[in-house]
C-alpha cells in the first residue's frame, strides 16, 4: 500500500545555527525536499562597504563564532596579495599553527557534541556525560588543544584579536608556547584513539556520485593557500573562482546556493582528504589504513572519519612546529596600501571560503563578496538527501526518517550561522 508522507522537521538540532527540512512524498517517490535556511540575514557584505580595510578582519570574524579565524585570515590574505606583502617565514608558520587550532576545536566540537549522540541513541552530548564521560573528555581534550593554539596567537578562541594585515599584533611569549606544546603532545594519543573509534562506528554505505572541491596541496595538506581543485578535472586560481562558481537565490533560504559550472558540489573535510590524501604523511596514512579506513571515497557518512584524520594530522603538524623555540622577530611587517581588486580562498574547518575585495586608494572597502562553505554545500545536501532518503527507504517511520535526514545533514557539519539556523522537519506523505 502506498502511503503519503509529509514530514516537517521544524528545527534541525546539533548543527551550528538553525535550519528546517520539508519532505513531501507519495508512495516511493519524493515529490519535494527542501533544506530551509532561515538564519536571519546580517548583510555583512554591505556593512563592510565604506569600512577601513583594517576593520575588516575584526568585523568579518563575527560571521561565525565557530570559525572566526577563517574569515579573518581569508580577508587578510586577500589584501596582502593586493599590497604585495612578503611575509617572513615565522609569520607564515604561526598563521598555519593558528589555522590548525581552529580546525582542531571545530572538528572536536562537531564529532563529540554534534555527531556522537547519533551513534549512541541520545539527543544530546550533555545527556551522555554521565554514562560516556570518557568519550566526551577525550573530545574536550582535543578541543582544548585547538582552543589553546587559538588563544596563543589570538588571545581568545572566539573572535580572536591577534591577526592583522602584515602579520600579528604580537608574537606569543615563551610560557604560553610551552603550555601549548604540552597540550598538543598530550592530545596526540587522544586523537589516535579518536581515529580508531571512528573506524569502529557503524557507518552505513550511502556512496553517491558527486563533485567535490577543495584547495590542492602541492607537497603538503592545503589549508590557507594554493589552487582550487574540482573533481570534474577543473583546477583554477582563487581569481578565477567567480568565472566557474555562481551563486543564486531561492525563496526558501537566506543562504545563497552555489554551483560549479552548473553542478552542485561538496566542500569540507571529505573533499579535502579526497583531493589531497597523498600529501598526508605516511605514518598517519599507515595508521588510518591499519584501522581499515579507505580514502578517497564517495560516502559522506565517512566525513566523521575524515574529520578525525584531519585532527590527527593537525596535531602532528602543530607538534612539529612547537618543538622549536618560540619564534622571535617582527610580529608584523610594514606595508603600503594600494587601490585594486583581490581574491583569496582558504579552507575553513567546514570547507572552502572565498573572499573578494575592491579597495579604494586609501584602503576603504568599495565592494566585497564572501562565500562561506555552507552555502556552497547547500545544493549538495539537498541532492544527497533526495538520493539517500530513497535508498534508506520511505517505508521507515516519520521519526526514523527524521533522524536519518538529520544525520545526513550533520555529515556536512553545516554552519548555519554563516547561512542558516536549526532544523524544522516537515514530512508530507500523500
Amino acid at each position: 500500500m502506498s502511503r503519503e508522507i509529509k514530514l516537517n522537521v521544524p528545527f534541525i538540532t546539533r548543527v551550528e545555527g538553525e535550519g528546517a527540512l520539508q519532505l513531501s512524498a507519495k508512495g516511493d517517490e519524493i515529490e519535494s525536499l527542501q533544506l530551509q535556511i532561515f538564519e536571519p540575514p546580517r548583510l555583512f557584505e554591505r556593512f563592510l562597504q565604506g569600512k577601513p580595510h583594517t576593520d575588516v578582519a575584526d568585523l568579518s570574524a563575527r560571521i561565525c563564532g565557530i570559525c572566526p579565524m577563517a574569515y579573518q585570515l581569508t580577508s587578510i590574505l586577500a589584501m596582502e596579495s593586493l599590497f604585495e606583502i612578503e611575509l617572513p617565514d615565522h609569520i607564515v608558520d604561526l598563521r598555519l599553527l593558528m589555522n590548525l587550532g581552529e580546525w582542531l576545536q571545530s572538528h572536536a566540537l562537531h564529532i563529540h557534541f554534534l555527531a556522537m549522540p547519533d551513534f549512541y541513541g541520545y539527543d544530546s552530548a550533555v545527556q551522555m556525560a554521565a554514562k560516556h564521560g570518557d568519550l566526551l573528555t577525550r573530545g574536550m581534550q582535543i578541543q582544548e588543544a585547538g582552543n589553546t593554539l587559538m588563544r596563543l596567537l589570538g588571545g581568545r578562541s572566539v573572535h580572536p584579536i591577534g591577526l592583522q594585515v602584515g602579520g600579528f599584533a604580537a608574537l606569543p611569549d615563551k610560557g604560553a608556547w610551552q603550555h601549548a606544546r604540552q597540550l598538543v603532545n598530550d592530545a596526540i594519543p587522544a586523537a589516535i584513539q579518536l581515529l580508531q573509534w571512528t573506524a569502529e562506528l557503524p557507518i552505513p554505505d550511502h556512496s553517491q556520485d558527486f563533485t567535490y572541491v577543495s584547495l590542492l596541496g602541492e607537497d603538503s595538506y592545503p589549508i590557507n593557500g594554493g589552487n582550487i581543485a574540482c573533481s570534474n578535472g577543473l583546477t583554477i586560481t582563487a581569481q578565477q573562482y567567480p568565472q566557474h562558481f555562481k551563486e543564486h537565490h531561492v525563496s526558501h533560504s537566506t543562504a545563497l546556493y552555489s554551483l560549479v559550472d552548473g553542478q552542485d558540489y561538496l566542500v569540507g573535510p571529505l573533499a579535502r582528504v579526497n583531493n589531497n590524501y597523498r600529501t598526508i604523511p605516511e605514518h598517519i596514512r599507515h595508521l588510518a589504513e591499519q584501522c581499515g579506513l579507505e580514502f578517497p571515497n564517495m560516502n559522506m557518512f565517512t566525513s566523521i572519519q575524515a574529520r578525525a584524520l584531519e585532527c590527527l594530522w593537525a596535531l602532528f603538524e602543530a607538534q612539529q612546529m612547537l618543538q622549536y623555540d618560540v619564534p622571535k622577530g617582527q610580529a608584523h611587517v610594514p606595508y603600503k596600501v594600494r587601490e585594486g581588486e583581490c581574491s583569496f580562498c582558504t579552507e575553513a574547518p567546514r570547507g572552502l571560503i572565498f573572499h573578494h575585495y575592491e579597495l579604494e586608494q586609501d584602503g576603504t572597502v568599495a565592494k566585497c563578496t564572501i562565500i562561506p562553505p555552507t552555502s556552497q554545500n547547500q545544493a549538495r545536501i539537498e541532492q544527497d538527501l533526495k538520493q539517500s532518503v530513497k535508498q534508506y527507504g520511505l517505508h521507515h517511520s516519520d521519526n526514523e526518517l527524521k533522524l536519518f535526514c538529520e544525520q545526513v545533514i550533520r555529515n556536512y557539519d553545516p554552519c548555519i550561522s554563516c547561512s542558516t539556523h536549526f532544523l524544522d522537519f516537515t514530512i508530507t506523505r500523500q
Binding site: 545555527g17 546580517r42 572566526p68 550533555v126 525563496s251
Partner: protein, 266 residues
C-alpha cells in the same frame, strides 16, 4: 539557594552562535557546570524544548525578524528570569549597523538577488527593546567566566553582580604599556566595559570595544583627544560604528562625528 539544578534554556536569535560556545568550549569544566545546571533547551547541543518552563532563559542574538520577536516573547513567558548574553542581545551587535543606513532597502538588494524573499524588521535591536531583561552579560563574545559566575549566583539565589568598570583599570592592573599614550592608538579602553581581560592592549593593539560602554563613559573627551592624534571625523565614526553601534553613548559619538564629517566636506 536552589536544592535542585537550575533549569536553563538557551535561545538563539540573530547571531554568530559564538556566545553559546562559552558553554561548549569549557572542556571538563562543563561537566562541573552540569552539576548545578540542567539545560532544557539548547538547540546547538541537541536539546529542543522551547516551551518548557525554566528558571533562566539565556538569550543570544538580536531581534531582526518577526520570528526572532515571537520566539523572544515566548522565551520570556516561560522563564522566571531572562538574561541577555553577548553584544547582539545587549545592543544589537554588528548586524545593527544596518540601522544607521539611510537606504536600508538597498542594503538587502546589495546582497540578495531577490530581496523580497528576505523577511526582516526595519531595525535590528537589543533584547531589552522588546521584553523585560533581568540581567545582561556584555561582550563579543561573552567569556566562560561570565556565564559560569552568573549561573552560579542565580543558582545560589543571588542577583549577579554587574561589573561595568572601565577596561583601563584592568589594563593598568595587568601592567600593560598604554597604547593610547605611547602609540597614540585610538584605544577605546577608557570608555569600554571590562571583561575581556584587556586582550587587545596586551597584544599592543587598540581596544575596539567588544564589551560595550562602561559606567560613565567620557566619550566626548576621548574622541576630542583622538582628533589630536590626527584622526579625521570619519575615522572616529568607524571606531564606534562597529560592535556596539546602537548603545546610546556610542550612538551619540557616531552622530556627533558624522555631523563634523559632513560640515568638514561642505
Amino acid at each position: 539557594m536552589l536544592q535542585r539544578p537550575l533549569k536553563v534554556a538557551i535561545h538563539k536569535l540573530t547571531s554568530c552562535s559564538g556566545c553559546q560556545l562559552a558553554f561548549i568550549n569549557q572542556g571538563p569544566k562543563l561537566l562541573k557546570l552540569l552539576e548545578f545546571v540542567e539545560f532544557t533547551h539548547f538547540i546547538e547541543a541537541g536539546l529542543f524544548a522551547p516551551d518548557q518552563e525554566v528558571d533562566v532563559a539565556l538569550i543570544e542574538g538580536s531581534v531582526s525578524t518577526h520570528d526572532d520577536l515571537k520566539r523572544l516573547v515566548n522565551a520570556r513567558q516561560r522563564a522566571k528570569l531572562l538574561v541577555s548574553i553577548g553584544a547582539c542581545a545587549t545592543s544589537g551587535g554588528v548586524q545593527a549597523l544596518r540601522n544607521m543606513a539611510d537606504d536600508k532597502e538597498n542594503w538587502k538588494r546589495a546582497v540578495y538577488a531577490h530581496p523580497e524573499f528576505i523577511e526582516e524588521l526595519q531595525d535590528c535591536t537589543a533584547v531589552a527593546t522588546h521584553v523585560k531583561v533581568d540581567f545582561e552579560l556584555w561582550g563579543c563574545p561573552v567569556t566562560q567566566q561570565q556565564v559560569t559566575e552568573c549561573l552560579r549566583q542565580l543558582h545560589a539565589g543571588v542577583k549577579p553582580k554587574d561589573n561595568a568598570e572601565k577596561l583601563c583599570m584592568e589594563c593598568k592592573r595587568q601592567g600593560n604599556v598604554c597604547v593610547l599614550i605611547t602609540q597614540q592608538a585610538p584605544c577605546l579602553g577608557p570608555v569600554v566595559r571590562t571583561g575581556c581581560g584587556a586582550l587587545c592592549p596586551s597584544f599592543g593593539k587598540a581596544c575596539y570595544g567588544c564589551f560595550g560602554p562602561s559606567e560613565q563613559p567620557n566619550c566626548e573627551s576621548l574622541t576630542n583627544r583622538m582628533t589630536g592624534f590626527g584622526l579625521m571625523p570619519n575615522d572616529i565614526v568607524h571606531r564606534f560604528a562597529a560592535i556596539h553601534s546602537q548603545s546610546p553613548p556610542y550612538q551619540q559619538q557616531i552622530a556627533r562625528w558624522r555631523l563634523q564629517d559632513l560640515e568638514g566636506s561642505d
